[in-house]
Amino acid sequence: MFNITLTKHLADLSKIAFTNDELKKMTEDMSDIVALMDKVQNFDSEKETYSLEAVNYSDLRKDEPKPSLETEKILKNSKQVKNNSFVVPKVV
């Protein structure tokens, strides 16, 4: 059963902050949505010849370096840049 603890856990996994009121509302929404998703558990099949990857990746190009975007262009859309690098809050 969906509850606020599970929503909080998923919010942490998803790296999305929620206020307590938002968490409560999200838990209600997710309960209804997951009830709809439960339908897949009724699917009766012994089918084991399925793939978890629906897309064929057999035609990949050779793993060779190709020209990429210039550093200046890559940094252009970042809000905080210093010395040709992205600035982030201190990690260690």
């Binding site: 998803s14 709809l36 998703m37 629906a54 190009r61």
Partner: protein, 478 residues
């Protein structure tokens, strides 16, 4: 006006490319405030590019789309032109490269009029979740335009562009086309490169076309299709000139009607209009065959599990560090990202990310994601089965016509269930085209879809065109 007619007028100098683009820009300025189909209008660039197109036309070197004014959905990257995905997260994002589909249009010297409104990150069926405000239906501005390519469909229906690029992950080209009374083509997975399409669900996403007719959609597909080494899922299979069979006799063609698409959940007026279309096909010599897609009942749940799982992964890139909105809150690295995502994403996007991470979590993965993958394989088999005895499949595009704004957008489960008619096509990677087959008692358009075998866009466009040739369309009211 049809693209072929526009082409003829441009080539015969009955109209100049600059004059044509001014006509569209003036109309956008006059009418778009009532439907809000555009997020960004590229006025100066459009006039400049129309001038360039005119010199190519004058030199007798025009390609099919030279000087043709188109709109592009705002989740398809355009170099030096803001690409927002209708999200606060990307409100000020300006890509430094073009999507391959856009690059191919530029090679033909098309004219970009602007970037169209949509559901945030293409997640929705109403185009009401846009950070910039919802899209309204050109047939009745109190109604939704459908989604997620609602702006693209509305821009075509209101004649604010000649045709539009959209994207279709679970029906996002076809359903708004049905709601807005225009033609929407979702090509086979892999036919159009996804490079530069902001990823939602990579195994389902496909760039599509919204136009005034099947033939017009074919012209645009001819320009943007083809293998691209920048997209590892791009196909090397050639679909040829997809307009080749337009006008050909369709006598003897076998059209399948899967009974599950005509159940009680489908509005009676919609069913009647689609069955009338089936009768039309029978009268012109096609054979109508009742078929079945038994796993349809599981399709919506399987689709939302797969698409949300992929979305949770794809949207993890939005951390506010490299590009996009960045919160001023949160002292630590993780807190800053969490606040950025709280402020940058809307409610529906957050629901999909949470659902995706739920389906992929230890303890839930087997019950949800693996079962969804099994259902996907089953649906592919069932389509193969139908296509062993049919050439195309006819279904409604949506269970209802366009509804009043505010009617159901706040009920996610109702919204998800409304995708029942379109999601299996993406699950199986097939091509499909939606066109108008009638109008409900309030004058709102009803859409039908023709689904084809993989890489057989030619046949569905030909069958669709045959109907369009004799169907009397009502113009949008704005």
């Amino acid at each position: 006006m049809k693209l072929s007619e526009l082409r003829a007028q441009l080539d015969s100098k009955k109209i100049g490319a600059v004059e044509l683009v001014h006509r569209y820009l003036d109309k956008i300025q006059k009418n778009d405030s009532s439907i809000h189909s555009y997020i960004t209008v590229c006025r100066e660039e459009a006039i400049k590019n129309a001038g360039k197109a005119q010199s190519i036309i004058d030199a007798g070197k025009a390609s099919p789309l030279t000087g043709i004014p188109l709109s592009v959905k705002d989740n398809i990257c355009t170099e030096n032109i803001r690409t927002t995905c209708a999200s606060k997260m990307l409100e000020n994002f300006v890509p430094d490269y073009n999507a391959t589909a856009v690059r191919k249009l530029i090679e033909q010297n098309y004219v970009l009029l602007g970037k169209t409104n949509m559901d945030e990150f293409a997640m929705g069926g109403s185009s009401q979740t846009s950070y910039f405000g919802g899209v309204r239906n050109p047939y009745n501005t109190d109604c939704v335009a459908g989604g997620s390519s609602g702006g693209a469909a509305a821009s075509v229906a209101a004649d604010l562009c000649a045709a539009a690029l959209g994207s279709d992950t679970g029906g996002s080209v076809r359903q708004p086309s049905a709601f807005c009374g225009v033609t929407g083509l979702k090509p086979t997975y892999g036919v159009v490169s996804r490079y530069g399409l902001v990823a939602f669900a990579s195994s389902l996403d496909q760039i599509g076309i919204i136009a005034n007719s099947a033939e017009d959609a074919g012209y645009v597909l001819n320009a943007i299709c083809g293998y691209d080494s920048f997209d590892s899922t791009s196909s090397r299979a050639s679909i040829g000139d997809v307009t080749e069979k337009i006008g050909a006799d369709i006598k003897g063609l076998k059209i399948g009607l899967p009974k599950e698409f005509f159940s009680d959940g489908i509005n009676a007026e919609v069913k009647k209009a689609v069955m009338s279309a089936a009768e039309f096909y029978e009268n012109v010599g096609c054979k109508i065959i009742e078929t079945s897609l038994p796993s349809l009942e599981y399709a919506v749940s399987a689709y939302y599990l797969i698409s949300s799982a992929e979305a949770a992964s794809n949207l993890s890139r939005f951390d506010g560090i490299k590009y996009g909105h960045r919160s001023d809150e949160g002292d630590s690295f993780n807190d800053n990202i969490s606040h950025t995502r709280r402020e940058g994403f809307g409610d529906e996007v957050k629901r999909r990310i949470l659902l995706g991470n739920y389906a992929l979590s230890s303890g839930y993965y087997d019950a949800y994601y693996k079962n969804a993958a099994r259902i996907r394989a089953q649906i592919v088999e069932e389509y193969n089965d139908i296509f062993s005895s049919c050439d195309v499949i006819l279904t409604p595009t949506a269970p209802t016509t366009a509804y009043k704004i505010g009617f159901q957008e706040n009920d996610p489960v109702k919204m998800y269930l409304a995708d029942i008619c379109t999601v299996t096509v993406n699950i199986a990677g097939l091509p499909a085209v939606s066109t108008t087959c009638g109008y409900d008692e309030n004058g709102m358009p009803i859409g039908m879809s023709l689904v084809g075998k993989a890489f057989d866009e030619k046949t569905i466009l030909s069958v669709c065109d045959r109907f369009e040739q004799e169907f009397e369309k009502l113009e949008a009211t704005i």
